[in-house]
Point group: C2
Chain length 128, copies 2
């Protein structure tokens, strides 16, 4: 019988976080009240990992709750729309981060090369 602490461990989060997700409707609270606490199965572990992966993809917890609801109603068009939206946002975010990475790297190189004048990193983002 898996208890909440084991579920949390398998999902790589803390017990409090599991309970937080339950409150948010992201994880179901086992219906069968068992003595000594509720217990969980592999489905719960899967669900928890789903939440964490979706988070990495940039979905907010509210959106993840919606995805889970879409799963319940098998609403594929809406699911595809959400995925497409998120992919576009990811592309934009990745592009921005790459641009930031490049200019930061350039500034660091210029700074390391020495030279005179002010350090390129400091006070230099206005040239980015």
């Amino acid at each position: 019988m898996m208890r909440i602490s084991e579920l949390a461990r398998k999902g790589g989060v803390g017990v409090e976080t599991v309970r937080f997700y339950q409150r948010k409707g992201l994880l179901t609270v086992p219906r069968g009240e068992a003595p000594g606490g509720r217990h969980y199965g592999e489905d719960d572990v899967k669900r928890l990992r789903y939440v964490r992966h979706a988070q990495v993809a940039g979905f907010t917890l509210a959106e993840i709750a919606e995805l889970i609801e879409l799963d319940r109603t098998d609403d594929r068009p809406r699911a595809r729309a959400m995925a497409a939206e998120r992919i576009a946002a990811l592309d934009e975010q990745i592009a921005k981060l790459q641009a930031a990475r490049e200019s930061l790297a350039r500034l660091a190189r210029d700074c390391a090369r020495g030279g005179d004048g002010p350090c390129p990193i400091l006070g230099a983002f206005d040239r980015v």
Copy 2:
């Protein structure tokens, strides 16, 4: 004489945000109290844009405050260290986002191709 509202507009933020940054020490409050409000110059616009660019690069406001302080003391080694740290974090973050983007795109493709069984997007992150 540029007033705070114009500074905010040029920086692409709201007046309240400018004041918030001032409180955080990210923007200086003009010393000369002028009647009818303080006024700002191009340096302030530059500084504000610096803050926004550094934010895009993933620096927290506290780190940006530190960068600004490093500028004051011209502490290049520390600036380079911070830049290197941030670049490494950016690389990691970009890699994660790209991975998430790819699996999300794959799921969306699989979902669009139709087929039977459950929608690949819904409840599928456990396979990512």
